[in-house]
Structure formats: structure tokens, C-alpha cells
């Protein structure tokens, strides 16, 4: 079977019509001033749906409710406190320059554009850097217990890809503490009656009426009841799509259904091939593996990464003398050393393992060694800084990282791609907004460490609450819609039919078996290194898996009950389509940039070689039909402030 997908068409370019022109540092002020406002007394007449309760969704829901809007919010977890942002470990960046080490808003802006390998929008990134300082203030006021020094002031540390210390943290649980801050703010609004929360309720489709997003179809995961919810605007804060790969650091239930269904209803999907492979994860142990666990990037502050110089060296780490070790990051990138950006660290690990110098079972690992740090700082200081991470490592591997070096290997962690949004974070469907990891906006082709928390909270606390006003003010009197509207009824019918079909096949393969097969295919051909040949193979294979899925899937039980197999199978339906778009996007982008490494496009010393002449654009894809070629819309990226160069961390 040959994929018809590769015959995609190129449509009109897409442009961000909302970002003001003028000096980059003034654009956010200009936009906020130009955006129309909704009179406080009129806000309660507007309903906004927010899907997801992570950092982006939780902060947006709380803030919109504080402003006076009626918020209807959804999460598939049993509580909004469990959204996957909670698992973020290392920290959150902010250009506070508390260290007096030369940091500034402009430097955070510069680092982020460069770190993203010049595939992000300057306007968006500058706004993110500006807002970063307000986020820390807001979170401290909420009682987020950031790490402090003895003088009572906030402590910071360094992360990959930067030479200043601008990462604020709460031991290895920064995501948890920031999320609980947002959750508590949201809880206050739930108690006040301003937010109507629907836990254990999963969005299954988007309702578009007269070209505008007006509601969602969602399933109550306990009763199985499929219901409709309506609003004046819909905000998707449903996270990324890393679980396409089956094995990733994402939570088991994180999924792409909300954004993929929105894409099918008209929202363009941008840069789907930009996925982040995180360099420091615990290697897999066997076929039973259900997910991978991250070891925070902060460990690279004090841990040194190495492999034996000799191939196939089987000696235990401690028996390999210093001169027979290759601290390859320090050797290749002397000025950034172990703190190079994630994409570079991951690829370097893959290279040394491909050379046969990997360690641990199957040679799929490198050492992250704290012996020097323990000698320098003392064990107690290391415990204070990283104790919970060391404990987690010891629990999972039954090895003591204070005694033997950790073994780590790259794993899928984050997706920079997502729904295309303009400066207002509005998708190509009017009234549909996407925030946090669900959109594509700020990280280009590679996200810097500790920037996901920053972006999620910037979008939710500060950007969306300002820009959504403009849309609601301009659409003040929309006709009411209810479940009887033909557009809504059609979406409900389609959803019910899809679930009924999944239950009816009664085949001989479990949902997980398909998910695993797809994930292995994607890891092999659309993972850390990609080639035209491999991507074409994947594009041929995915439609075959999809066909087999609908012939052989087995989902026990009924749709009218708590049915985790049905939830899973329905998410895989969407992965089987999204995977195809990711491979096509990776195939069409014949350059290497950031996390997207095409083996055909590399510099003589093996670094990613961008092709700015042909690919300095964001690729926004328009859906046509399942299995049919999508249409490519290019958004040209203009760099006025940060001149694109070959990234150098040497």
C-alpha cells in the first residue's frame, strides 16, 4: 500500500494578523490596549468552556472566573489537581535577574528564540519573557513554596541552553507546587460558584456553529453518558500529544483527542513533527514497560555525563578509571558542557550508544555521575538539592545513585507542535483558543528546560484572559445554541457511532497492543533521527495499522459504564491519524532543526543543519479527510531582533 498522504497540496499562506508591528518590547502593551474589553457587568452573561485543568487550563479557568466570566471546566482525572503538569520536576524560568548575572527580558527572549532553533515567532517569545517575571510574583503570593536561601529570598539554578541562573524551583516538584497554586485558585472560584467543574468528563469533539466554536461533546467517564455543553468561546488546554509514541514521560491518560478533533473541525495543526526527546530519562527495562520516568534536567547542573571510551566495556562504572571515560558533552561542547540544550544532549547520547559505547542492558544508556558533586559539596548538600529524584531513581532501578552513577537514556517528553494560534492564542476556528502545550506558539523546534511551566502559566494567567475579551466583545450577542441544533446533534451522533463501532468489532487484539505497535513504529522512524526512507515506510504502514485496528480491536463491556478500555481505544483512533500527519510533516521538512533531525541535513560535524532559505516557516496543516492528503499553509517567520545563525554551544 502506498500512502496517498505524501501528495499533499500547498494552500494560501497563513499569517498572524493579531500581533502589532512596532518595537517588539511594546507589542504586548499595544495589543492589550487595542483589544476590546467586556464591561464587568456584562461578563457574567458570557460562558467560556475550558478543557483541561493543568497549569494553562487551571490558571485560565481561575483567572477568567475572577474577571466575572461564567466558566465551565472539564478534566478527565477525578480531580483537577492531578493534571499532568504536576509531574514537571525541575523549575520555571523568569528573567528576574535576582543573581545580577547579566539576565534580562531580552536575554530570555534571545535564549528562547535561539534554543528553539529559529522556528518560533519573535512577538510571542518576547511577550513570554516579559510575563515571566509576573508569574513568579503571582505564584509567591499564592503561597507556592519555592526554594529559598537563608536570607529568606528565592533561590535559583541553571538549566540547559543558558548561561545565567534564572530557574526558580521547589525541590524536584516545581510542577506540583505551581499546579497546586493554580488548583487552589480554581478551587476558590468553584466554591464561589463562578466555575462549574466537570471532573471525570472527557471532551470527545468540538461543536462548530456558523463557523464559530460554540461548544463541546463530552463523555461522563463514570456513567458513560455523552452530553453537550455550550459557550461563547472554547479554550483547549488539553496538553501535548507525546503519547502517540506509547512510551513517553507523559501520564498514561494524557491524550490528543481534544486537539485532534478540533483539527478535524477546522483548526490548523502546526509543526506536528516538532517533538522533544528528553535526554535524562530512566532506561526501559523490558516489554512490560508502560511509561518512562524523567530524571529532571536540573541534575545536569551537578551530574557529569559519560560513557566508556572503549566499545563494549562491560566493567562496572566504578572500576573504569578516569582516563578511560569519555565525558563527551564536556569534550564536544566545552562552553556549555553538560548543560547543552535537550535536543543536542539527546542526539549525542544516541550517537555514543550507536557507536557501541552505551551502558546497561542492551547498551541503551549513558552514565550521569554525581561522584564529583558529592566530593565537592558533600552528600548532604546533594541530598538537599536532589534527594527526591535520587529516591525515585533508587525505587525504580533498585540501584543507589549515591554509590553508582545513574543510567539515563533519551525519551519522548514534550511536543512543541500543536494547534496553530495567532498572537491572541486563537486557532483558525473563530472562538476556539488553545493554550499551553496544546498550541504551537513559543518554543519553535526545541523547548528549553523550565520553559513549559512558564508558557503554561503565561498563557493561562495573563495572555488568554486579556485576548479573549477582544473576541467576546466583538461577538457580544451570539444566538443561543442548544443540543437540538442540527450542528450539535450531528456531532453527538458521530461520536456515539464511533464508540458503538469500537465496541462492536469484538476482534482479537487489545487497545494497548495497537498503541504499542504504533509507538514503536513512530520511535523508530519519527523519533530522534529521521530519514526520507524511514518516514515513507511509516507513512505506508500507518494506514495498514489503522485498517487492522478497525478490524481486530477488542473492547470489552459497554459504553454506558465506567470503561477504561473504551477510553483508551477511542484515544488510539486519534493517534492513528495524528501519527500520519507527524510523519508527513517530518518528511516535508527536509531540513534539520531543533528536535527534528533529518539525517540528510547535517553539518560536517554532525549537528543539525537548518535551511532557512526553504524552511523558515511554521507549517500549518489543514485537515481534509481521514487518509487523504492535508493542505499545507505556511506562516513565514520574520526575524528582526535575533538574527538566525547556526546554533553553537561549543
Amino acid at each position: 500500500m502506498t500512502s496517498s498522504y505524501v501528495d499533499y497540496a500547498t494552500g494560501d499562506p497563513v499569517a498572524d494578523a493579531k500581533a502589532p508591528t512596532g518595537p517588539v518590547a511594546e507589542r504586548w502593551d499595544t495589543r492589550r490596549f487595542e483589544a476590546k474589553l467586556v464591561n464587568p457587568a456584562n461578563r457574567r452573561k458570557h460562558t467560556v468552556i475550558v478543557v483541561g485543568t493543568g497549569l494553562a487550563g487551571g490558571s485560565a479557568g481561575a483567572t477568567l472566573a475572577e474577571q466575572g466570566y461564567h466558566v465551565v471546566q472539564f478534566c478527565f482525572q477525578d480531580s483537577p489537581r492531578r493534571a499532568h503538569s504536576i509531574a514537571a520536576q525541575g523549575g520555571i524560568n523568569a528573567a528576574k535577574n535576582y543573581r545580577n548575572d547579566g539576565d534580562s527580558i531580552h536575554r530570555l527572549f534571545y535564549d528562547t528564540v535561539k534554543g528553539g532553533d529559529f522556528r518560533a515567532r519573535e512577538s510571542n517569545v518576547h511577550r513570554l519573557a516579559q510575563i515571566s517575571v509576573e508569574i513568579i510574583d503571582q505564584c509567591v503570593a499564592q503561597g507556592v513554596p519555592f526554594a529559598r536561601e537563608y536570607g529568606g529570598l528565592l533561590d535559583t539554578r541553571s538549566f540547559g541552553g543558558v548561561q545565567v541562573s534564572r530557574t526558580f524551583y521547589a525541590r524536584g516538584q516545581t510542577g506540583q507546587q505551581l499546579l497546586l497554586g493554580a488548583y487552589q485558585a480554581l478551587s476558590r472560584q468553584i466554591a464561589a460558584g463562578n466555575v462549574e467543574l466537570h471532573p471525570r468528563t472527557e471532551m470527545l469533539d468540538l461543536i462548530v456553529v456558523d463557523g464559530k466554536a460554540r461548544g463541546i461533546v463530552a463523555r461522563d467517564l463514570i456513567t458513560g453518558k455523552i452530553d453537550t455543553y455550550f459557550a461563547d468561546a472554547v479554550v483547549l488546554a488539553s496538553g501535548g500529544y507525546g503519547n502517540v509514541f506509547y512510551l513517553s514521560t507523559n501520564a498514561m491518560n494524557s491524550n490528543a483527542t481534544a486537539i485532534w478533533r478540533a483539527h478535524r473541525r477546522g483548526a490548523y495543526f502546526a509543526n506536528p513533527c516538532f517533538t522533544q526527546i528528553h535526554p535524562t530519562c530512566i532506561p526501559r527495562t523490558g516489554d512490560h514497560q508502560s511509561k518512562l520516568t524523567l530524571m529532571s534536567e536540573s541534575l545536569r547542573n551537578d551530574g557529569r555525563i559519560w560513557v566508556p571510551k572503549a566499545k563494549g566495556d562491560q566493567r562496572p562504572a566504578r572500576e573504569i578509571p578516569e582516563e578511560e571515560r569519555d565525558y563527551y558533552l564536556e569534550r564536544i561542547y566545552p562552553s556549555f558542557g553538560n548543560l547543552v540544550p535537550r535536543d543536542i544532549a539527546s542526539r549525542a547520547a544516541k550517537n555514543v550508544c550507536d557507536e557501541g559505547r552505551g551502558v546497561g542492558p542492551g547498551g541503551q544508556g549513558v552514565y550521569l555521575d554525581f561522584a564529583d558533586a558529592i566530593a565537592r559539596m558533600g552528600r548532604k548538600a546533594v541530598e538537599e538539592k536532589y534527594g527526591n529524584l535520587f529516591d525515585m531513581y533508587a525505587r525504580i532501578t533498585a540501584e543507589d545513585p549515591y554509590e553508582t552513577p545513574m543510567r539515563i537514556y533519551p525519551a519522548v517528553h514534550y511536543t512543541m507542535g500543536g494547534l496553530w494560534v495567532d498572537y491572541d492564542l486563537q486557532t483558525t476556528v473563530p472562538g476556539l483558543f488553545a493554550i499551553g502545550e496544546a498550541n504551537f506558539s513559543d518554543h519553535g523546534a526545541n523547548r528549553l528546560g523550565a520553559s513549559a511551566l512558564m508558557q503554561g502559566l503565561a498563557d493561562g494567567y495573563f495572555v488568554l484572559p486579556a485576548t479573549i475579551n477582544d473576541y467576546l466583545a466583538r461577538h457580544a450577542a451570539q444566538d443561543p445554541v442548544d443540543a437540538s441544533h442540527p450542528a450539535a446533534a450531528a456531532v453527538v451522533r458521530e461520536t456515539e457511532e464511533r464508540l458503538a463501532k469500537l465496541l462492536a468489532v469484538d476482534g482479537d487484539r487489545t487497545p494497548d497492543s495497537f498503541h504499542r505497535e504504533l509507538g514503536e513504529l513512530m520511535w523508530e522512524f519519527c523519533g530522534m533521527a529521521r530519514t526520507e526512507e524511514g518516514l515513507r515506510k511509516a507513512l505506508d504502514r500507518i494506514p495498514e495499522i489503522r485498517e487492522e485496528f478497525w478490524r481486530r480491536i477488542k473492547v470489552p463491556g459497554t459504553g454506558e459504564e465506567f470503561n477504561q478500555s473504551l477510553e483508551k481505544a477511542n484515544r488510539i483512533v486519534d493517534y492513528l491519524e495524528l501519527a500520519e500527519l507527524m510523519c508527513l510533516d517530518a518528511l516535508h521538512r527536509e531540513e534539520s532543526c531543533g528536535g527534528h533531525f533529518r539525517e540528510e541535513s547535517q553539518t560536517p560535524d554532525g549537528e543539525a543543519a537548518r535551511d532557512d532559505g526553504r524552511f523558515a516557516y511554521a507549517a500549518a496543516w489543514e485537515h481534509t479527510a481521514t487518509g487523504s492528503a492535508p493542505v499545507l499553509h505556511k506562516e513565514d517567520l520574520v526575524f528582526e531582533y535575533v538574527h538566525p545563525t547556526q546554533r553553537s554551544y561549543a
Binding site: 490558571s59 483567572t63 480531580s79 492531578r82 503561597g143 536570607g151 529568606g152 488548583y183 484572559p465 465506567f562
Partner: protein, 248 residues
């Protein structure tokens, strides 16, 4: 290794449940407890049986979703969450009992899944600082002594899993409630609402039907995040102080 599992099966809240026995084989010591249950469920699906429902998500010990009583202990024999419990803690041939959290304030939804929304309502009653977005002063305007910041963090680590309630013979939620109160009340940012917070949260806790505290200490033993038992005493002190102030 080969194991026998005795698992609580209950179709829905209205149907009585019972323990059902299953044999699982080829279990690796490196598997997590939940991966072992995945293996069982794959087999059950292929046999046409209903797989065992259980809550889980991050599988890194931080989201607080997983919630199994294993051989009578909340989260099993190690001091960690169920998702971070590995099969190397068991031996070939073992029989393992797997039950949901047992507490009247946590009704069973299905099999091993319970409804913990009572916890959310306790937080809604006052587990926050009332600071709308945009109203925040510069972060360094108020230094916080490191000892206070560390005390706050130690209590803020609670993941809301409910093991404390499941382990308590009275089904009490004192440790969960005290963790949030101590986190916020020690900080200068939480001080203005210090009294209303403790009074309202404790009142909500009582309304939800959790049992009283008899200082058995099982909660702190079961807590995967090590929230200490004196946390409860600190909350009681806060409550007495707030009550005295309210009566003045």
C-alpha cells in the same frame, strides 16, 4: 514469578462486590505493581472478561491517582505510591490481596476506583490564598525565613491520594487537611486568612463524613510523601487559636 491475586470486583456503587481470584505468570521483578495489573488486564480482555478498573495516571508517584490497598496496607508494603511499588517487593508464589481505599467518605465507583471528591471540597472550603491574578506584589518584597519555607514545603508535598484516610481505622482525613493548613498558615502570604482557613476546612472535613482522629498514627505511616504526624497537632493548635479568637 507466578502470583495469585485476590482482587476486589464491584460493578458499580449499587452492586455488592466480592474478592475474585486470578493467577498471573511471567511477572518480572522490574515491573511496577500497576504494570503487573496491566498484564492481568490484557489477559482478561482477550478472554472476553471485564478488566479490573483502577485509577492511575502519571505512574511517577506525584499525581496521587493510584490508590490500592495491598495485603491490607495502603499503597502496599513499601513507603511509596502504588505506581512506584515494584514486584521485587514480592516473592514467587505469593498470594496478594488488592482492595480499594476503604472509607465511607470515599464510595467505590467500580472495582478499585473510589470517589475522592470530598478532598476537593475540603480545599474549596479554604485551602487557598485569596489573591486574584494580577494583584501580586514583587516576589522579593516579603522574605520568608528558610525554616518556614521548608516547613511549608514539607506539608505542600501532599499529593491528595487518600492513603491517610484508607490507613486510618477511623477513616479520618486529619492528616490531609492539616497538611494544607500548615503549608499555607506558616507563610506570611497565608496569614490574613489563617483563622477562617482552619475553621472552614475542618468544618468541611467533618461534614464529609470522615472519622475523628484518635492519634493512631497509621496515616503518617502510610503517607507516601512523609507528611509527619505532628502536622495534626499543629492543626489542632491552629484550630484552638482560631476558635478562641472567633469567640472574642
Amino acid at each position: 514469578m507466578k502470583l495469585t491475586l485476590r482482587v476486589w470486583r464491584q460493578k458499580n456503587p449499587d452492586t455488592p462486590g466480592e474478592m475474585a481470584s486470578y493467577d498471573v505468570d511471567n511477572i518480572s521483578a522490574d515491573m511496577s505493581f500497576l504494570e503487573m495489573l496491566d498484564t492481568l488486564n490484557e489477559e482478561l480482555i482477550l478472554r472476553g472478561d471485564d478488566p479490573v478498573a483502577f485509577d492511575h495516571d502519571c505512574r511517577e508517584g506525584i499525581c496521587g491517582a493510584c490508590s490500592l490497598v495491598i495485603n491490607g496496607d495502603a499503597h502496599g508494603p513499601e513507603r511509596t505510591t502504588t505506581c512506584q511499588l515494584h514486584m521485587r517487593s514480592f516473592s514467587d508464589g505469593d498470594t496478594i490481596d488488592v482492595e480499594p481505599w476503604r472509607a465511607s467518605a470515599f464510595p467505590v465507583v467500580k472495582d478499585l476506583v473510589v470517589d475522592r471528591s470530598a478532598f476537593d471540597r475540603i480545599i474549596q472550603a479554604g485551602g487557598y490564598v485569596s489573591v486574584p491574578t494580577g494583584a501580586a506584589p514583587e516576589a522579593h518584597a516579603t522574605p520568608v525565613p528558610k525554616a518556614d519555607a521548608d516547613f511549608a514545603f514539607e506539608h505542600a508535598e501532599c499529593i491528595g491520594c487518600g492513603a491517610c484516610v484508607a490507613a486510618c481505622p477511623n477513616g479520618s482525613a486529619m492528616l490531609f487537611t492539616s497538611a494544607k493548613i500548615n503549608h499555607l498558615n506558616v507563610l506570611p502570604q497565608g496569614a490574613p486568612e489563617r483563622e477562617t482557613r482552619v475553621l472552614d476546612m475542618v468544618a468541611q472535613m467533618d461534614d464529609e463524613g470522615f472519622g475523628g482522629c484518635t492519634l493512631t498514627g497509621e496515616c503518617a505511616t502510610a503517607c507516601p510523601k512523609g507528611i509527619p504526624l505532628p502536622s495534626i497537632a499543629a492543626m489542632n493548635k491552629e484550630w484552638l487559636r482560631a476558635n478562641r479568637k472567633a469567640k472574642r
